[in-house]
């Protein structure tokens, strides 16, 4: 993925579905909102910095930013428990940070340095952490869905009570193996929550131009998999739906589909001029539905958090991100001997 988009016809802003917030919004405590704010802000600032480093030529190849979609992964994580697995496609930096992976290790992987999570051998699309139960980071659209179903297969086999959070985009949701996976997950009642992050564009192709059924929550209907559409811009609705889905999966009822209605502000990848959508469409989402701004407003107005406290959160986040960038630009490249390592594991005698 990641090639520059052909300049297709710009979709008129009015063609795009209007974003509809959920009618009954569950409330967060102050601490929950603060947590969500900090987590989402970390992803936002991290991605902005990654974009900057890419522009400076310090990050190579493809770089798919998660800006705009932060509420999805943060809300999911708030509903999960330790030991639940996470797996996603190539737009994966946000997921790693939300799983608790070290921003330094993630950024250093983006710059291809030895301190990166994959020692510089994976890059933006291929990072993993056994410790944080993050299983990648996959560059073949839709492959992570069968793999994530396999994680759930192992959970069921080992009877460990864990759930696999398997993320995909609206584009991946059209891949054949997604339905092969849905079938087996439902047949065997595997503990998997499929999170379809519908950001309205599969690279440069709008959902309406690629999908006969644009309601992705219905994509599991013929397998008897329940699904729901969720306001993916509001971290509270995400967490509430996630809790329902996870409970369903963990209790042995089988898979569950959450269609997260979200939006990416940036192009598909860094080289995407985004001519397939109007500037108005983007700015309308940013101005009216930004997941971070909504929490910030709540913290200030409903929870009475002083502005100074938020500023100190902002400063702290900025510091973490700057440190990660500093590390990622000064850490050496991998030793040339690394070329030949990690191809096969030694068989134990």
């Amino acid at each position: 993925m990641g090639a520059a988009s052909e300049a297709g016809k710009p979709a008129a802003g009015t063609d795009a579905p209007q974003h509809r917030p959920a009618p009954n919004i569950p409330q967060f405590t102050k601490d929950e909102d603060l947590h969500a704010y900090r987590e989402m802000l970390l992803i936002r600032r991290f991605e902005e910095k990654a974009g900057q480093l890419y522009g400076m030529g310090l990050i190579g190849g493809f770089c798919h930013l998660y800006i705009g979609q932060e509420a999805v992964v943060v809300g999911m994580q708030m509903a999960g428990e330790d030991g639940d697995q996470n797996i996603t496609g190539y737009r994966d930096h946000g997921h790693m940070l939300a799983c608790g992976m070290d921003p330094k290790g993630v950024m250093a992987e983006l710059t291809g340095r030895r301190g990166g999570y994959s020692r510089g051998k994976g890059g933006s699309m291929h990072m993993f952490s056994r410790e944080k139960q993050f299983f990648g980071g996959h560059g073949i659209v839709g492959a992570q869905v069968a793999l994530g179903t396999g994680l759930a297969f192992a959970d069921a086999y080992l009877k460990n009570g864990k759930v696999s959070f398997t993320y995909m985009g609206d584009g991946a949701a059209n891949q054949g193996q997604v339905y092969e996976s849905f079938n087996m997950a439902a047949l065997w009642k595997l503990p998997v929550v499929y999170v379809i992050e519908n950001n309205r564009y599969a690279m440069g192709t709008s959902v309406a131009r690629a999908s006969a059924q644009t309601d992705f929550s219905k994509r599991g209907l013929s397998f008897g998999i329940p699904g729901e559409q969720v306001d993916g811009m509001d971290v509270r609705t995400v967490r509430e739906a996630a809790a329902r889905a996870i409970n369903h999966a963990r209790s042995g009822e089988g898979p569950y589909i959450l269609e997260m209605q979200t939006y990416r502000y940036r192009g598909h990848s860094m080289s995407d001029p985004a001519k397939y959508r109007s500037k108005d469409e983007v700015s309308k989402m940013r101005d009216e539905h930004d997941p971070i701004e909504m929490v910030r407003k709540r913290l200030l107005e409903a929870h009475g958090v002083p502005e100074a406290e938020l500023k100190s959160v902002d400063a702290k986040v900025r510091e973490i991100v700057n440190e990660s960038a500093d590390f990622a630009t000064h850490d050496p490249e991998p030793d040339p001997s690394e070329l030949w390592t990690d191809i096969l594991l030694e068989a134990r005698a």
Partner: protein, 483 residues
């Protein structure tokens, strides 16, 4: 006019079977569609139906007879009104037997078996012997591997078993040892395996560990890889490796590359196994040999055994290996028998070739079913005074070129034999390595005998032409020996 009922074949590769039971007696009237008898092999059972009306005049092969070769007359049907005893005495006229045409395998001669049984160099090229009855080798029982490779104590007790049984035993033994080992694939459980390789595993290990999947290769290969990321050790059976084309993305992009892409964090202990290459008369989409394809990919190990003993020892090693292993079997070899050491926990090293037959004049390198051509050619050549050393690669990746190079240093000549296509094939790789590592020792260009560069045809004569032959191996060897 009296008609012979012939022993039918349950599959294109069947050579013989057991006449389990007669359901009609001599003198019984029969109608078309009546079940006359039941036959069975170690793989399956089948009913023999009548296709004509008449009287069962004589039963030629009694209930319970084992090892009845395909196309042997098993009974005679007399026409209504015909003198039954005269008909029985005169015998039939070889009319095809009663296997129904409702999808049951036709009782055609087993061309593949014939190809394997061939002795004469001339027959291979002409293909005009295709109409003859098969040479009817019974289950081919092979001699013990040559003792030049001491992989088990020479005085080990040996048990003769088929490759099929050896593979099953290897899986069963590893499953008994390690609860994380499981088998998944199409028809592996209740059906007992499309080729009966998983026979009895469901009964011993239950449905948790012997998992029937839907027909969905891409999906279940991905699920297997995901489960392996979690530390399970799945054995994923493909009904044939041709179907693994639907799953090859997961085999290569997900299984083979993740260890590297994760900087060594995430291994994938998985075995993908199943029959590979040509069986017999199954056409282009069921006959492809993928040894060269998978051998091209770093991060994979690729095994293609010939003998039952190697099948067992290497499958056990593959299951224990922490890396993704492609285990290429061969349908025609499944029913062949070989001696297998009966020793506790017989495991062989991956990545070691075996000198199957020592010789001094020329080296023949092959693997899997290619070994059948190589060994028959070596036998024929020995009769003409050429002593060929036959090396069974056993593992294609990592390739044990050292064993090949050492042999070529001794013989100065080499022929590579495989059923796969010539371009970028396994033989091409061996040639390239010999150019680098044995150039100064070569007395002749290294030649390859391969499958022809065409999609596998269906017609019996064309299929035979498309595959390598013993005659071609003999010819190639003589050519490199300048004889």
């Amino acid at each position: 006019m009296a008609t012979d009922i012939l022993m039918p074949a349950l599959s294109p590769t069947m050579e013989e079977g057991k006449l389990a039971k007669w359901l009609k007696k001599e003198g019984d009237p029969v109608k078309a569609g009546d079940v006359l008898a039941e036959i069975e092999t170690d793989k399956a059972t089948m009913e023999v139906e009548a296709i004509d009306e008449g009287i069962l005049a004589k039963i030629l092969v009694a209930d319970g007879t084992e090892n009845v070769a395909v196309n042997t007359p098993i009974a005679i049907i007399a026409e209504e009104g015909e003198d039954v005893s005269a008909a029985a005495a005169s015998g039939g006229k070889g009319k095809p037997n009663g296997a129904s045409d409702g999808g049951a395998p036709a009782p055609t001669p087993d061309m593949q078996a014939e190809g394997m049984a061939e002795k004469s160099a001339a027959t291979a090229k002409t293909g005009d012997d295709a109409q003859k009855a098969p040479a009817s080798p019974a289950v081919i029982t092979n001699k013990a591997p040559d003792p030049v490779m001491e992989e088990f104590p020479a005085d080990s007790p040996m048990k003769t078993m088929t490759v099929r049984e050896a593979l099953r035993d290897a899986m069963a033994e590893e499953m008994r040892k390690d609860d994380k080992v499981l088998v998944m694939g199409e028809e592996v459980a209740e059906y007992q395996g499309a080729y009966k390789i998983t026979q009895g595993l469901l009964q011993e290990f239950g449905a948790r560990r012997v998992v029937d999947t839907p027909i969905t290769e891409h999906g279940f290969a991905g699920i297997g890889v995901g489960a392996a990321f979690m530390g399970l050790k799945p054995i994923v059976e493909f009904m044939t490796f041709n179907f693994a084309m639907q799953a090859i993305d997961h085999i290569i992009n997900s299984a083979a590359k993740t260890l590297y892409m994760s900087g060594g964090q995430l291994g994938c202990p998985i075995v993908f196994r199943g029959p590979n290459g040509a069986a017999a008369r199954v056409g282009a989409q069921h006959s492809h040999d993928y040894a060269a394809w998978y051998s091209n990919v770093p991060g994979l190990k690729v095994i293609a055994p010939y003998t039952a003993s190697d099948a067992k020892g290497l499958l056990k090693a593959a299951i224990r290996d922490p890396n993704p292993v492609i285990f290429l079997e061969n349908e025609i070899l499944y029913g062949q028998s070989f001696p297998v050491p009966e020793i506790e926990d017989f495991v062989l090293p991956i990545g070691k070739a075996r000198i199957h037959r020592p010789g001094k004049d020329v080296t023949i390198v092959s693997f899997s079913i290619g070994m059948t051509y190589a060994l028959k050619a070596a036998q024929a050549l020995a009769e003409e005074g050429i002593e060929a050393e036959v090396i069974d690669l056993r593992t294609i990746r990592p390739m044990d070129s050292a064993t090949v190079v050492e042999s070529v240093k001794k013989t100065g000549r080499c022929v590579c034999v495989e059923e796969g296509f010539p371009q970028s094939g396994v033989g091409a790789e061996i040639v390239a390595r010999l150019m680098v590592d044995a150039f100064d020792y070569l007395d002749a260009p290294v030649l390859r005998v391969t499958g022809k560069d065409v999609p596998m045809p269906y017609a019996a004569n064309l299929e035979k032409l498309a595959l390598p032959s013993v005659a071609e191996v003999v010819e190639a060897v003589k050519s490199v020996c300048y004889k």
